[in-house]
Amino acid sequence: MLEIKNYHKYYGEKHAVKGINLTVEKGEIFGFIGHNGAGKTTLIRSICGILNFEEGTIRIDGKDIQQDPIGCKKVLAYIPDNPDIYENLTGIQYLNFVLNIFSVDPLQGKNEIEKLAKEFEIYDQLGDSIRSYSHGMKQKLVILSALIHHPKLLVLDEPFVGLDPKAAYLLKKKMHEMCEQGCSIFFSTHVLDVVEKLCDRIAIIQKGEIIKEGKTEDFTKDASLEEVFLGLEHVE
């Protein structure tokens, strides 16, 4: 579903991300971890077509993000680390905006919104202006907007920041359900426990390079993921 080959990103003369190769299969949850500034968000923004890159290819569902960005974005949903959304709209207006962009049937979209909004407990606030939302509520709205059009690939950047424990639990449950239905998930986080419990495969990025990648059970065979992660950082 997601195939990254020899990805490089430069910021001026700084070589920020150096030759990343990754694959995320259909129905797989892939955890991407690393310290602040390691290059996680850079790669994620490139996967979503937000950030251009100089070398390499990123293919989503067989399509190249640079050659066919619209084709890729049609099957993709992105949840950023900071939920900056149109504050002059109400919650429902924003969700309707996303539904229209993805040409989702209004009745199906309405049912989906109703179900998810009730689950994430923001149904009563859907008619309120986004300006009045807290950070967590905005985050929930962005999650809803990503789930309502049933993407084939879900890309999340630090999705649990600002979520209350119940919403965080619900999101993890949703991620599992989506994978069972064939959706692939690529996400970054600093919450290693979540990665350990949720992911099928993991990659650790440091200073723009993948220093270890593999199945979760291979990582946690002899020690917890936290110990492995800190150990690798220490070695470096």
Binding site: N82, D84, Y86, T90, N100, S103, S129
Partner: protein, 534 residues
């Protein structure tokens, strides 16, 4: 207390300075500072040039009119600008939470906000009035006392208009409440206020007699009657009258003191309430509407435009003036006919043709100044990731932004044209041709503005007013629009003496259609590349 006030003031100044510089590297910062100095220099030059032009046009003994006119202009400028600037500076400012969490009193927070707001007002008032005052002083060989009066009185001159406009801005905010249509209600009320003041100043103006014919003494007595603090200040400067200065200073200081005392009681409560948005009780999800991508983006864009009063007033003020002017002309047909008859280049034509040329020229002039698209991309700001991550082609995004600009121009311009057609009996061919030219104009302005914004984007900002008023794209689009408008005016007026109006306007329309095609081609090639690099 004084230490804390000093800290808050320094903080506000630093924020103001950082807003101008943005988050740029040293080299870019230097370039930007150079650009700011260049613009400031240009504005001062324009102010000096305008004052000098006025001064030279007055007959001997009428020089004091410059002080009267420019002090009035400075005060009016502060009044109009601060109605807009109060939002975001005195109310609904971004650092409210941060300041409230500091161990400083509420009065200190309020005073620091008022002082920083006052500094902006001094900037606007000073740019208009001070060059004129210096020119006047040089012209009449004024002594030190005159300059002293100018300086001291100037410190108090913007206080009353600033306080008055802040009260009005606050009243609008309170009346708009926290309804679902808060922005719309607030915008409509601000717009209504603008119209009332505009109509009032037109009614009070001395335009029928012409500026040159106004006697300074009569002007001064009128000014002292309606705006005593300005009248006394002008009198003090002209006659080196310290009593008049004291009167002006005391009145301004007293009124401002009263404002601060009253404002102190509501400042925190109002700002605290403004932090809350619109809430619905017992929300029930209704049927959703299905719309195409263009329609969806267009609606989003239009909502963005209409929900921001500063956006409307800065980028579409020309259209508001045009529509108001059309209604005025319809009610004062004879005045317009006299004006048209006095223009030498239009005298070669019959009356209807002359007026048709003039109306089209005015529509083009105001249309070219109304560039909403020039900041529309920058205004995406932190929300830009939405457009980039959703399956939206850049061309679809461009089309929505251009279409909103076109609608903003086409609707008022069509109304103006049709009202003029009714008043002055334009032929059906004139109407159809002008309607088509307006459509071509609307798309031209939108595409040109968008291209400018793509070349000079500014996505990193904390207040939208910085993009609307201070970005390079906004400056280039507005100034470029004025210059293009003047060029169109010149072309139509010069051409009118030689070419038949229908043919002339048709030629201009064709020119816009050709430019539309070229710009669209440019947008879909270079524009898309620039968009993808953002």
């Amino acid at each position: 207390m004084l230490n804390k006030l000093g800290f808050c003031l320094r903080l506000q100044f630093r924020i103001m300075l950082n807003q101008s510089a943005g988050r740029l590297g040293n080299r870019k910062k230097r370039t930007k500072n150079g650009f700011v100095v260049l613009i400031a220099g240009l504005l001062i030059y324009l102010s000096v040039y305008y004052s000098l032009m006025l001064l030279n046009s007055f007959p001997p003994g009428y020089e004091s009119l410059l002080i009267l006119l420019m002090s009035l202009a400075g005060v009016s400028m502060v009044f109009f600008v601060s109605i807009q600037l109060a939002q975001g500076t005195l109310f609904a400012f971004r650092d409210f939470d941060f300041l409230m969490a500091l161990p400083v009193s509420r009065a200190v927070i309020m005073i620091s906000k008022i002082v920083s707001f006052l500094l902006i007002c001094y900037g606007y008032c000073g740019f208009i009035f001070l060059p004129a005052a210096v020119l006047y002083g040089v012209h009449v060989s004024a002594g030190f006392s005159t300059y002293l009066i100018v300086g001291v009185g100037f410190l108090f001159l913007p206080l009353i208009p600033m306080a008055l406009s802040s009260i009005l801005a606050l009243a609008i905010r309170i009346l708009a409440g926290r309804s679902r249509w808060q922005s719309l209600v607030s915008n409509l009320m601000s717009f209504a206020l603008f119209l009332i003041v505009f109509a009032g100043s037109m009614a009070l103006s001395f335009s029928s007699e012409g500026l040159i014919a106004i006697e300074p003494d009569r002007f001064l007595s009128q000014l002292t009657r309606f705006l005593p603090f300005v009248g006394w200040y002008a009198k003090a400067v002209i006659e080196t009258n310290y009593m008049a200065l004291a009167g002006s200073v005391l009145m301004s200081a007293g009124a401002f003191g009263l404002f601060v005392a009253l404002f102190n009681k509501t400042f925190i409560r109002v700002n605290s309430n403004l932090q809350e948005g619109y809430h619905v009780r017992n929300y029930r999800l209704k049927r959703l509407k299905r719309q195409g991508i263009f329609q969806t983006l267009f609606k989003k864009e239009l909502k963005k435009f209409l929900s921001n009063f500063m956006y409307v007033m800065n980028m579409a003020i020309g259209q508001i003036l045009l529509a108001v002017g059309a209604i005025y002309v319809l009610l004062n047909k004879d005045e317009f006919l006299t004006l048209t008859a006095s223009l030498p280049s239009l005298q070669a034509q019959e009356v209807t043709s002359s007026i048709f040329t003039l109306v089209v020229a005015l529509i083009l002039f105001f249309g070219l100044m109304s560039n909403t698209a020039a900041v529309s991309l920058s205004l995406e700001g932190k929300n830009f990731w939405i457009l980039r991550s959703l399956p939206i082609r850049p061309e679809e995004c461009f089309m929505a932004k251009v279409a909103v600009n076109a609608v903003v121009i086409i609707l008022p311009s069509w109304i103006t044209l049709l009202l003029s057609a009714v008043a002055f009996d334009f032929t059906i061919w004139m109407i159809l041709e002008a309607l088509s030219v307006i459509v071509a104009l609307g798309f031209f302005v939108g595409m040109l503005g968008l291209m400018i914004n793509l070349l000079f984007p500014r996505l990193d900002f904390d207040r939208e007013i910085l993009v609307i008023k201070q970005s390079a794209a906004s400056f280039i689009a507005v100034l470029g629009g004025v210059l293009l408008g003047i060029a169109c005016f010149y072309l139509l007026f010069q051409g009118a003496a030689r070419i038949e109006p229908l043919l002339l306007v048709g030629g201009v329309g064709l020119g816009f259609v050709l430019l539309d095609l070229i710009l669209w081609r440019l947008l879909t090639s270079l524009g898309v590349r620039l968009f993808n690099k953002l």
